[in-house]
Symmetry: C2
Amino acid sequence: MALEIERKFLVRNTDWRAGKGQLMRQGYLGGGGGTTVRVRLAGERAWLTIKGPTTGATRAEYEYAIPADDARDMLASLCPGPLVEKRRFEVEHAGFTWEVDEFLGDNTGLVVAEIELESEDQLVPLPAWVGEEVTGDPRYYNASLARHPYRQWR
Amino acid sequence: MALEIERKFLVRNTDWRAGKGQLMRQGYLGGGGGTTVRVRLAGERAWLTIKGPTTGATRAEYEYAIPADDARDMLASLCPGPLVEKRRFEVEHAGFTWEVDEFLGDNTGLVVAEIELESEDQLVPLPAWVGEEVTGDPRYYNASLARHPYRQWR
């Protein structure tokens, strides 16, 4: 098991953008009580990831590489749609690697920047393009975006 | 992906019993729409198994070996109890290997014999100790036994 400690922010502009990013498709196999079971496909690599309930910025995470064909099958047949599709960019800033997710499909218009921490109180220098912090806001959980996509908000 | 094609029976007596069997503990990470995500621990081996909805005697199955410590963690912290505990016996009969599960804990008293098939119409010689067929009866799904254990039946 790993602990995932993560802060999440909206972005102010597109100054983070560099390269083409990595296209990802993911869906969820139910779960409950705050636990999620995610199937993620990125090119020809795929993972099954179990995450426990979030406390603060922290949740338990168990991740296993699986065959891409299995992921394709599960996304097509077992994950209730719509799937979450996004392009992930890795952006270096002050010795930290940010993951910036530009969502597609039903979540087009949403861009979220994430940073993984060693501990909840670790200080991270924020890039100028980082905006409002949304850590812990359940609307921005990717599992929530599968059920209540950004385009349906408000 | 594999297809799991399986028939399931109650037993008439204990003539199947030989050896000590393998103790297994398993729990479920939610799921939905007939999909189950199972964590199984058997000694120091463990698996994460996703099964799709059952059609007849057939369901899609994706199984991945995982570290036993991960399984222990997930069973303790992420699987809503009670867990399903059983002792599994492998019993040879007429060239087929039957799996006989003697349930423990809240499911004590229940014994189920399963046989995996190559196709739904494959003929299998039934041992004399095999009783009523319960293939497709959702009460006997292990995921159901976690929520509605045998001791609560009447």
